[in-house]
Symmetry: C2
Subunit: 186 residues, 2 copies
Amino acid sequence: MADLYLALLHHPVYDKTGAVVTTAVTNLDVHDIARMARTFGVRAYYVCTPVDTLRRLVARIMRHWERGPGATYNTTRRDALALVRLAPELDAAIAEIEDETGHLPRLIATSARGGPDRLSFDALRARLDAPGPPVLLVFGTGWGLAREVMDRVDDVLEPISGVGPYNHLSVRAAAAIMLDRLRNGR
Amino acid sequence: MADLYLALLHHPVYDKTGAVVTTAVTNLDVHDIARMARTFGVRAYYVCTPVDTLRRLVARIMRHWERGPGATYNTTRRDALALVRLAPELDAAIAEIEDETGHLPRLIATSARGGPDRLSFDALRARLDAPGPPVLLVFGTGWGLAREVMDRVDDVLEPISGVGPYNHLSVRAAAAIMLDRLRNGR
C-alpha cells in the first residue's frame, strides 16, 4: 500500500473576503485529526504554520501527551499525537516525506468546491491500495487553500456532498469523512 | 423519508474509570455537529445537559450566531446553529420530537464498541430512506453512553472500524462519518 500522509495548512489560505491569510492553530484540529489519522492508518500528520509561537504551542501540547501528565492519563491520546509533526510550510513537509520514503509525495488537495477533473474517492482509494509513491492529502483552514497551493498539486479530491446545496463542514469533519471513504469505501 | 434527529448526551456517560458522570459541553461539538446536521439533512440536533449554566452558555452561543454579530458575519453558521436545540435530558428531547412529529422516535445508540445484534449502517440507511417513525441517533460524550441509556434504546449502531484495532475517534469525527454513511452509503 502507498503511504498516506496528511497536512493541515494554516497558510496560505483564504479568509471570507478572499484575502490570503494565516489562520490560528485550533487545538482540537491537532487532537481530532491525530486520532483519525491513527484510526485510519495515516503515517504522519503535519500541522503547518509559519508562526513560530504557534508551532511551539503545538509542540507543548504534544509534549504534555507524550511525556507529561497526559501520557499516563490517556495512552490512546498519546498514540494518536505521536503521529503529529510540525512544519513551517508545505514544502518542509514534502521534503521530510521525501527523506523518509525516498519518493516525492503525490500532492492531493481537498476542497469543498467542485470543479473540472476532480479525483474521485474511488480512484484515490485504489491508488492507496496499490504500491506507489506516498500520497500527501492537503487540507486548508479558514475559507480554504489559496490558489498558489491549488495550482501546484497533482490532483484535487472531489468534494463531499450532503443532501442539498449546503456544504459547510468543519475541516475536522471533512477529514474524518474523507479518511473513512478512502479506507472503507463509500 | 423518516426524520432523523441527533442527541449529544453529557449525562449519563462514563468517565475513564467507568463512573457515571456529567461532562462539560464542548463549544466545537455544538458548531461541528450542527454544521454536519445541516449538511446531511438532520431535522434537529439536541445538546443534552442537566447543567442549567451550560445550557445557558449554549443558548448564548446560539444567540450570537442567530441574532448577534455572528448572524451577519457568517450566515452559513447561522443556518447550521438554527438546528440546535437544548434539553436537560434525553427524555425531554424524545418528548419534543413526539410533539413535533406525532410519533415516538426510534432510539438508536452509537458506540465505539462492538457487540451482539448491532444495527448495520445499511439497515439504518434503508430505514431512513423509507417512510416511518422518526429516528433519534444518540451520541455520548466522555467514555461513552452509560448502561442505563444503552439498555433502553431500540438498537445500537455498529461501530466504525479503521485499519486496525485503534478506535478512538472524537464524537465529532464519529458523527461526521456516521452521517456520511447514512446519507451517502459506505
